[in-house]
């Protein structure tokens, strides 16, 4: 039996471990507790989680794309487009809510499908594909709404993003956004453990081996883009509800999502990392922003913080992998 022959290894490395990001999150929470003790009160913490749900969802979607070796820079514009489209289509009529929700999900998946096909079939580098998609989506949505958002969201639609189940014992309140997040996160975790999820990571690690083992690499990557588009659609529903309709709804979210994924220990270029790490990375990033807020640091510096995190994370992993060779 193999079990009997197992020999101890000098060190066992679980590189997709989420310990570092959990540690970082705990440290940040402790710091926040010092600066703003109220923050950790159950109800405010629950609200914080609800507010963070969209970026966590986007990080989960981005995880699928990054772990297979690509990027999706179109998610921010997709969120904007979805919010504006939803407002115009619902036009404050509650009966339109559910059909529009369905439409948004289909639309998100379709945008992902196009991103994926252009990247895999036409061999356009994904950052160019998705940046081009960014331009197209922003242009199209402005064009369609003649430069100013029209219509309005129904109360039913906005409920997901800004209402909560109130007066819950112990927790105070549970935002609907948090429930949506929990459901989507569970689906994401199940997906990463499925055949598809494992194959996806293999594609990011070594597409040659995957291809020679019968994996349909192009199809797998395209599905990853579709998942990212779907995640953006759900994020758009929550964000539209929370902050209302504007052309600014999704601005910069793609960079936030990528930063979160990198922070969560997922390797840019693919092949390593967990979706839980990516989602915790998003939560950590939001906590960091909250801390910046409480300590009076300008929110405008967010981009700088993201840039520093990306460069540091990539530089560290690049140096580590070159020294281990």
């Amino acid at each position: 039996m193999r079990v009997a022959e197992r020999r101890p290894l000098p060190l066992r490395i679980r590189t997709d471990g989420i310990a570092p990001i959990v540690a970082l999150l705990v440290v940040l929470l402790i710091l926040v507790a010092f600066v703003q003790p109220d923050f950790l009160a159950p109800s405010s913490l629950m609200s914080f989680l609800g507010r963070s749900a969209p970026i966590i969802l986007l990080a989960a979607g981005q995880y699928f794309v990054i772990v297979c070796g690509e990027f999706d820079l179109s998610v921010g514009s997709l969120v904007t487009a979805q919010v504006v489209v939803a407002a115009r289509l619902i036009d404050s009529d509650p009966s339109h809510t559910w059909p529009v929700v369905a439409l948004l999900l289909v639309g998100g998946a379709l945008v992902g499908l196009v991103n994926g096909l252009v990247t895999t079939v036409l061999r356009v580098p994904s950052f160019i594909t998705t940046l081009g998609m960014f331009l197209i989506l922003v242009g199209a949505v402005y064009l369609w709404s003649d430069g100013a958002p029209k219509g309005g969201l129904s109360e039913e639609f906005r409920r997901f993003g800004r209402r909560a189940i109130e007066d819950v014992p112990l927790l105070g309140r549970i935002p609907y956004a948090l429930l949506v997040l929990v459901v989507v996160a569970a689906i994401a975790v199940v997906l990463t453990r499925s055949d598809f999820g494992r194959t996806l990571v293999a594609v990011g690690d070594n597409p040659r081996t995957a291809e020679l083992s019968g994996v349909r690499v192009a199809r797998t990557k395209t599905i990853a883009f579709m998942l990212s588009g779907l995640a953006a659609a759900v994020a758009a529903i929550l964000l539209g509800g929370y902050s209302g309709v504007s052309f600014q709804a999704g601005v910069g979210l793609e960079f936030g999502a990528i930063t979160a994924v990198v922070l969560g220990g997922v390797a840019l270029g693919g092949g390593r990392g967990s979706v839980v790490g990516a989602m915790l990375g998003a939560l950590t990033l939001e906590t960091l922003f909250a801390l910046m807020n409480f300590t009076g640091v300008s929110g405008a510096l967010r981009s700088t913080v993201q840039g520093v995190i990306i460069l540091l994370a990539v530089a560290v992993s690049s140096l580590r992998s070159s020294s281990s060779r």
């Binding site: 242009g139 510096l301 993201q306 990539v314």
Partner: protein, 324 residues
């Protein structure tokens, strides 16, 4: 010897100039049918102004792409440069040259940072320059809500609005920079080595090329070009503008112009003349749309499609090459 057709390596007219000519002819016809005039003084001047700004960035972008790298931070470098220049000038002609020097020095420093991240830390160029871009974005978001500083009147008069016939001084500046870049690529060791590094880093290294130094130099030159574009935009706008680079999509458009101009996105093949063709093509499409009074947002959709299509066509060509 086998009967091989040994055409000399001087490339024939790149396809982009054919596309440019076609665009101009068709555009001229369509605009005329629409009752307008494509080649009147004001449209020509504004076309050349658009080309000057984008062209300066794209020529710099050509250098890094030829070397197998990429620069996504140019849009932020442009914005920063407009601010540094305009704030240092503060409306006085006396500070003109020192301010330009300062703007270029800041840009060069950013290029140096990009180059070091790409070569010494071996970070993928896309990620490295994206990260640097975000750093700058945060600085700009934090420090500026709107236009700041005031460009020196002399700069506005000359670089901004002076022209010789229909040709703006800024376009002449672009031609000068292009000529310098062309000269550097074909007549200096740096140029030869840069193309070699982009073509095959291992071959270059084995032939004694110092790859890192060459690539860092290219990044510095690229940022310098973006900085110069910033100075030009400051002269047009009369002040520093914290979003002008990103709103002008100079990052993506410059890459698109380079690719349209026949330079391989993977490096090692191409040149600045094609890039100028790509720039003129994009500027012409813009001019035609302006004449037809096409919606600005529709223009943006078309821009996105053109960028993806240009790269897709390039990728097909590269694939056929690899397959043959």
């Amino acid at each position: 010897m086998t009967a091989l057709s040994l055409r000399p390596a001087r490339h024939a007219v790149p396809g982009v100039f054919v596309a440019l000519a076609l665009t101009l002819v068709i555009g001229w016809l369509v605009v005329m049918l629409d009752g307008g005039q494509l080649f009147n003084q004001s449209t020509t001047v504004s076309l050349l102004h658009v080309a000057a700004g984008l062209g300066l960035v794209a020529v710099g972008q050509t250098l890094v792409i030829l070397g197998g790298s990429l620069d996504l931070s140019v849009a932020y470098v442009i914005s920063l440069s407009t601010l540094v220049a305009a704030e240092a000038m503060n409306g006085s002609d006396g500070a003109l040259l020192p301010a330009i020097g300062l703007a270029l020095a800041v840009s060069a420093a950013i290029g140096l940072l990009n180059g070091v991240l790409v070569t010494k830390l071996r970070i993928n160029a896309f990620i490295a320059t994206l990260g640097v871009g975000l750093l700058l974005k945060g600085y700009l978001d934090n420090g500026y809500d709107g236009p700041a500083g005031e460009s020196a009147p002399a700069l506005v008069r000359t670089l901004g609005y002076q022209r010789i016939g229909p040709v703006p001084v800024s376009f002449l500046l672009l031609l000068a920079v292009t000529a310098a870049a062309w000269f550097a690529l074909s007549r200096t060791r740096f140029g030869h080595h840069l193309v070699a590094v982009g073509g095959d880093p291992e071959v270059a290294r084995l032939s004694g090329v110092r790859n890192d130094r060459v690539l860092i130099t290219a990044h510095v030159l690229c940022s310098l070009c973006a900085g110069l574009a910033g100075v030009y935009l400051a002269s047009r706008l009369g002040s520093g503008a914290p979003r002008v680079g990103t709103e002008g999509l100079y990052d993506l458009e410059s890459i698109a112009a380079v690719v349209l101009g026949g330079t391989a996105l993977a490096g090692g093949r191409g040149g600045v003349l094609g890039t100028v063709g790509g720039v003129l093509l994009l500027a012409s499409i813009d001019a035609v749309f302006n004449q037809l009074e096409v919606d600005a947002f529709f223009k943006q959709v078309i821009r996105g499609v053109i960028i993806i299509a240009a790269v897709a066509v390039y990728a097909r060509r590269a694939m056929r090459k690899a397959g043959s």
